[in-house]
Every structure is written in C-alpha cells, then in structure tokens.
Amino acid sequence: MKEILSKNEKDFILSSIDQGLRVDGRRLNDMRSIKINFGKQYGMVEVQLGRTRVYTTVTCEVTEPKPERPNEGFFIFNTDVSPMSSVSVDSSRGNPVEAELGRLIERGLKESRAIDTEALCIVAGSKVWKVKTNVHVLDDCGNLLDCASISVITALLHFRKPDVTVVGNDATIHPIDEREPVPLSIHHTPISITFGFFPKAIMIVDPDNKEEQVMDGKLSFYVNVHKEICGVSKGGGMSTTIEQVIKCSKISVIRATEITQLIREALHQNIQSRQKPSTRRKGLPFEIVEHSVPEPTTVAGTTVDIKMEIDTNNKQQQQTTSKPTTTTNNNSNNNNKEETKTKTTVDTSSIKQQQQQNNNNNSTTSNVKNTDIEMKDKKKTIEIDSDSDSEEEDTVVLSSTNTTKTTPSVNNPAKSTTTKSEEPTITSKPAVAKQQEQASPINLDEDSEDLSVALLKKKPAAKKKAAAKK
C-alpha cells in the first residue's frame, strides 16, 4: 500500500513552491527543527528532524580480524525501517529504502575516513573491536537520509568502548564501572543534506513526505564542517544544472556547520549530566556528617529516657536532657550497650512495633547513611539496630522514626520508601512525628543513622546486613 496524495494537494504544493512558499510555512532553504535525545547508555541516540524520527544504537564486541587486514576492526551498519514508520513500508518484501539508507551512510563514513578502523585494533592479528551500528527508523515524515546521518554520527560520537590494557598478546578489557570507557576515534563529522528539485529550477532543502512525493529529483550532499565533500548521492530524477549543484554544495556546508554545532552542544550537555550524579553521591555522606551535631545519648537513664521520648513530643529536647547524664558513659560503649540491652527489654511491645517499622524503613534509607555508622559509634552510646533482619535485637525507637511511615501494615521493605520528604512518624504517636519534622531535618537524618547502628556485639552482623542491602 502506498501513501496516497490527492491531486489537490499535489497541485497546491507545486503552485506554492512556484511562488516560493512551502506548505508548512518554511522558506525554501529552511530545515526543520532538530531534536537530539540520548538514551541511558552510551551510544543510544534518537534524533527528530521535524516529525521524522530515527533511533540509533551503537554496540561493540571483540572479534578476530580478517587475515588480510590484521590491524583493522569492523564497523557494521544495520538499517531497519519499521512498518510503523510509514504506510508504504511492506515488511514482507525487501524494502529498497532500507538498503539504500544503510549503504549511503556506511559509504559516506568509511570512504571519507571519518571512522578509523585501525584505531579499533586491540592485538594485531587476533583481537579487534567490531562496532555495530543499528539504525531504526521510527517515523518517516520525509528526508530519512538526513535524519539517519545525524543520528548515526551523533551515536558514534556519543559511544564509549571499554578501556583495554594490552600486555603482550593478552588483552584485559576493563568493565565500564572500573575504568572510564573510551570514545571512538572519529576524525570529522559528515552530515547529509538533501535537496529536492522542482520545475523552473527551484530547489528546496529538507523535503518532507508530501514534498518528496511531488518533487522531480533529489540530491544529497554528505559534507563536513571543513567544507569537504564526503559523498554525493543522486538517484534518478530530473537532470540538474551545474549552477544548481554548486549552489547545493554551498548551502549544504552552511547547514552542516549549524547541525554539527547542535550535535556538539547536545553531546557536551549529555556528557556533563552523566558526570554530575557521581560527584553528588560522593559528597552526600560528608554533608550529613558536617551538619550533624553529635549528641551523646545515655544508656544509664535509658528506660526512663526512652519512655519519655516516646511519650513526649520533642525528642530533641529529650536528647539534650539526657546529655548531662551520659557524659560518664560515653567512653564505655560496651557497657552502655549491655545496659541498653537489659533495660530496653522492658519496653518491648511498643518498641518492637516501632522497631519493625524502623527495620522496614531503615533498610531502605540511603546506603550512605549506613556508612556513617562507624563515625557515630564513638559519639553515641545508645546504639540501635533497626535492620529488618534482626528483630530479636533490642532496638530503641528514637528519632529514627523520622524516616518511617506510620502505617503498621508496612512490613515490606520493598514497599516502604524512605525519603527525606516523607513525614517522620511513629505509628502510635503521629503527633510526635510532626513535631520532629518541624525540627531541622538534618538532625533527624543524623538520628536515623544512630538508630541504624547495631549494638556492638551485633555490629559486624549489622554491618554485613547493611552492606548486603546496599
């Protein structure tokens, strides 16, 4: 089934172009707007040229080179025009558009030496990289070749292959999380610009699907920023004059420069945004530590204090009240913990309830907090293990409940999502939580770290559990 264009539309488009007008309001030399979206992994790019969409992915693997070319790797291009892209795509028969598209892009990149196959060599004669580029056409609204060429070169520029160290004949490929992956060696960025020809020597840039069906001839220039022509493609259609061809080449260089600029900006933005989160993560634990004011909590007056803390509203106040009594106990962590053990067993019922919630919720607190356990051990005498696995351990529910949800039904670590934005509450005392919220959130987080610290004896186990949960 072919896409049908009515006579009215054809006549209108031709007469408009005659007058220098294009149906979507563009000028004769205007291209449609280009949007570049990157995927999660390196080498996944989706480019939109107006409403034409092409998605390219680049992957690589290690293979043996050809015997006659032991130093060269492989660049393989595969094109797939989806039947969703256009009415005229018939998946049962081979699509000539598909083959032509892949071939043009491949030849444009290889013959202009934009992509360097020798740089893909790992161990000459035995190991080379094979870089596979898959071009998927999602939507065909005209000018597939341009959109695909932009998408391919952007994907190749974006792609990172794993770092390799070669010792003699052995090559070690480092996984991506171990070492920063390495970009491919791309010498220049060729872009394809397509022109459409109409009667009376009128030429348009970037025809859309209706114009493509109406135009007399098509000419594509594969150029780069350095004004080098990497390829020319003209398949049939009406004959063009020399002046037209030269004019096309000049316009294509201008357009290619603009597009290359766009690609570089988009790549730069994307690479930057990828690097940011990792630095943020590293900074997080230290932030909390800095803001936190270590408050030694007592063991001696535990039972009383705990009860009070649970019953009264402001836990922070209680913590401060417990300060003077705990100064003597700060040094002997072991003793304190033993005492807490004995004393906290008194108030098990309500504590255990809260404990369960804490267990559930603290298991999902950020891993960062768990790592700060050691730092706080020395300072805090009441150590509470709120790991979900160890329900038999004695835990004291203090301000750690700030990160817990009130619902007692939440016994599923998977379900509970503890984020700082959540209302800290105790199931039995929602009022308490609200007041805790009003207190500075940073302190609350710090308290949760306290709570997540295991008792000394069970500390290694708790640490392992914390590590396992990470």
Binding site: I4, L5, S6, K7, N8, E9, K10, D11, F12, S15, S16, Q19, G20, L21, R22, V23, D24, G25, R26, R27, L28, D30, R32, S33, Q48, G50, R51
Partner: protein, 245 residues
C-alpha cells in the same frame, strides 16, 4: 446523560439510561439494552446542532461510523463505482449514482486523485464502508467534489472540535482571511482561499491552534499576517510547533 457532558469517562462507565428519549450516540459510545456505556477513554461531548453524543480523545486511527462526514481521496475508478480512501482499515465504496441527479448517462466526472466530501452510509467492522455524496434528502448540500484548495491531516479530536459550535479558531480566522473549509471527521481538513499564502496561513493556524488557548489565537494570526505582508517569500510560521503535534 446531561450530567456527564464535558466530563472525563473511562471505558465501561455508564453514561446514562435511555428511557423514552431519542438519543443519538456517536463514536465511543455503545448501547447495551437501555443504558449507554463508554467504550473508550475521553471527554463526553454533546453537539446541539447535530444532537448527538460522542467521546472525544486524541486518537489518530479512524474507525468509520454511520453518518460520519469524511473527506476521501479517489484511488480507483470503476464503471459504476469508485474506490475511496478515507483513512479506515479498508478502502470505501462510493457508487457513481450516489450523487445528486446522477443517472446512467449523467455520471460524475471524478478522476483518480480527486477529493470528495461524503457521508458514510454503511460501516461495519467486517465489511468495507459505503459512502454517498448526498444528504438524506438526496440533495448535494455541500457534498461532492472539492476543487482546488489544500488538504492536511490532523487528529480526530481536532477535527471534532472544529465541527463543534464553540470553535473559536474558525471564527477568528474568518475575521481576517476569506476562506472556505471542509472538515472530515476522519482527521482530514480541506481549506481553500484566495491565494496560496492565505491558505497556508489558515492551515498552519488550525494545526498550531490545537495547543493554544482561545485568546492566544488572535494575536498569533495577526502576527503571522503582519510578517507575511512584510516579506514576499514566506517566513516560518511556527513550524517547530507543527512538528511537535
């Protein structure tokens, strides 16, 4: 039924009961015994002029229903009938006698590629739809061939909106540009005007207006008209926004 107008409904929602009322239901509504149930998600609309209910959503696939007014492209010509593409899953059949005053000797002069504005007579999901180019009173009344002009595609929701009474965009456009328009509920709109430039303005404005508020349309039209009058070759008329639709 009235209480649910302009409210969002989900498939399976009971819209209302039909007691003694004569109610015409359109796309997206199914009659089950004496209740009317929604079969797709969307907003329930009621047209006072046509006096029927339908469910409006941003759909692109056209499923023909009886009494739909559509724009078709003739793709095949037979001695006594035409095969017309209306955007449905199969080509529709238009008999050569379904025109006002058509007889064996006086058949319509339609060629492959002509545009016709017609009405869906029969529409089953298992058969090809059948069209007629005349009203129930067997008069032309606007149906028939569309000459010159330009046709463009839009979503079904927009085409229904253009046909509703409270469509502001067409009225505002009419204040500034003289044009004629035919809207097919199969997502096709035909526009004709004095010259190509004005037709292009009308077409682009309608497409862009889908995401504009009513009070933004008038300044938009004025701005484009002003820029058109300044430069002879057309300047871009918000082309990126068309592409986002």
């Amino acid at each position: 039924m009235e209480s649910n107008i302009d409210k969002f409904v989900l498939p399976g929602d009971c819209i209302g009961t039909i007691s003694d009322l004569k109610v015409r239901i359109g796309p997206g509504l199914i009659q089950v015994k004496d209740t009317v149930i929604a079969s797709k998600c969307g907003v329930l609309r009621f047209s006072k002029y046509h006096k029927f209910y339908w469910i409006e959503n941003e759909q692109k696939r056209f499923v023909p229903q009886v009494e739909d007014m559509v724009i078709g492209i003739i793709v095949d010509k037979h001695p006594e009938s035409f095969k017309v593409d209306i955007g449905s899953s199969s080509l529709a059949l238009l008999s050569a006698y379904s025109f006002e005053g058509a007889t064996k000797n006086n058949k319509p002069l339609l060629q492959v590629g002509n545009l016709v504005y017609c009405r869906v007579l029969i529409a089953n999901k298992d058969m090809e739809p059948e069209l007629v180019c005349m009203s129930v009173r067997n008069k032309a009344e606007g149906y028939g061939q569309l000459v010159n002009g330009y046709m463009f595609n839009c979503s079904l929701g927009l085409s229904h909106y253009l046909l509703s009474e409270d469509c502001e965009i067409l009225k505002i456009l009419g204040k500034h540009i003289a044009y004629e328009i035919a809207v097919g509920v199969n997502g096709r709109v035909w526009v004709n005007s004095m010259d190509n430039q004005q037709t292009i303005i009308v077409a682009n404005t309608i497409l862009n207006s889908q995401y504009m508020h009513d009070n933004q349309i008038e300044p938009f039209i004025l701005a484009t008209l002003k820029s058109e009058s300044n430069t002879t070759p057309k300047t871009t008329v918000n082309s990126p926004s068309i592409n986002t639709i």
